[in-house]
């Protein structure tokens, strides 16, 4: 998911950076200092998620979980993911300075989109919430993979094969992320319902698995 340094062309880097700046500005504006600690700690939770390896067939993969971050933070996903990716660059040298903008856009953009698409559905008291949470997790990974592919294609048309490889490699991850998001959101609704923005409170009998 991290595009590494030196691959993308100048226009892609700059437009990715510009859009990330806009997204982060919107996210920061909606963030008052009261919730700063919460976003910061969720940011480190997002960073921790990249260290959790989930088995899939013969190998393992680390989850992205931008669907969950989007549902919990809305536009705050932009600054949270920006900081999370900066920490990954500092600790493990994944990504880097020039690609920070594009990588943040590719991960946080889908998070915000899924927040708008599925945010309300997830709070409902029926089995629909489960399906919506699965769709949120899967769709956010799909969108991220597509945006990575688009970033590569805008750089160089001949990256078609590499881009296709990236998207197909993420199809199984999509399914797993959907499952994990569904269970995780169900868990959060039962244990800490006020973590979902706007969720009124008492969970009904069928909101969990």
């Amino acid at each position: 998911m991290h595009i590494s340094e030196g691959v993308l062309s100048a226009p892609v880097l700059l437009s990715g950076g510009a859009l990330t700046v806009v997204g982060t500005a919107i996210g920061l504006k909606k963030l008052d200092y009261d919730h700063m600690a919460q976003v910061g700690i969720l940011s480190s939770a997002f960073f921790m998620a990249s260290l959790i390896h989930v088995p899939i067939g013969p190998s393992s993969v680390h989850l992205l979980l931008n669907g969950i971050v989007g549902l919990l933070l809305g536009w705050g996903a932009f600054p949270a993911i920006l900081v999370g990716l900066a920490l990954q660059a500092m600790f493990f040298q994944f990504g880097g300075i020039t690609v920070l903008g594009v990588n943040t856009l590719n991960v946080a953009g889908p998070a915000v989109i899924c927040y708008y698409l599925f945010g309300n559905l997830v709070k409902k008291d029926s089995g629909m919430a489960l399906v919506a949470a699965f769709a949120c997790g899967a769709f956010s990974v799909l969108l991220t993979a597509l945006m990575v592919a688009i970033s590569l294609l805008f750089t160089e048309e001949h990256f078609v094969e590499v881009a296709t490889l990236v998207v197909t490699a993420h199809l199984p991850v999509m399914v797993i992320e959907g499952i994990v998001t569904a269970f995780c959101i169900g868990f959060l609704k039962k244990v800490k319902p006020d973590s979902l923005p706007g969720f009124s409170g008492t969970p009904g009998p069928r909101t969990t698995v």
């Binding site: 590494s4 030196g6 910061g40 493990f92 001949h158 094969e161 499952i179």
Partner: protein
Amino acid sequence: MLSEAFAQGKSILHRLDPRLRIVFATLFSFLLAVSMGFPTLLAGLTLSVILVLTSGLPLKDVAKRLTTINIFNILLFLVLPITFAPPPAFLLGPVACSREGLLLAARITLKSNAILMVFIALIATMSIATLGHGLNRLRMPRKIVYLLLIAYRYVFVLEQEYQRLSTAIRVRGFVPGTNLHTYKTYAYLFGMLLVRALARAERVYQSMLCRGFKGKFYCIHQFSFSSTDRIWAGYLLLTLILLGGMEWLMPTLF
């Protein structure tokens, strides 16, 4: 265990002003990322190797950090020459390898290694706390700096929570596999991590209020720009001008 392995060191690079290092690394990275000429890229790579050697970091560890991008680079060398339609340069067995594809793969390899090595030599050699304070002095928005520092401070706490939960599930006989039970367990694990993180955040906020937090974040760390920093700033500026000049005068030498 998470650790900032490269941040402890005593080389001259570790002692340079963090603001200088951040600014130079950023300018260098962008300059190299948009350059096309091989002379520029090779010069950039040479510079980055010199910086890594100056930093005194264990070379094996640096090489380990470079493996991920180089695996991707090898993939590019395998895929790009074959998929670039235009003039094939030579035939490798039954397959026509294009010159353009090879050159692109070579460019990307040089760029990614050079940029990452400069990052390791200059930025990874400071602790994230220093990075945060440096960014604040460089006038990054306060809220972002604050988020970075809070996230950094709690990463280690959350890692310990994760280890505790991880041990708990293993003690209960959890063996990861490709099944629903595994995904459910990991989902609940992450959910629990989030719940604990949020509860902690609430307590952190309350304790900040108790200590008089009024909504403004103050960064009191001062950096001093010494004569060593001035000399290095001069050198580094010269290298940037040199690289820029090379790119301008010899953009395509192949």
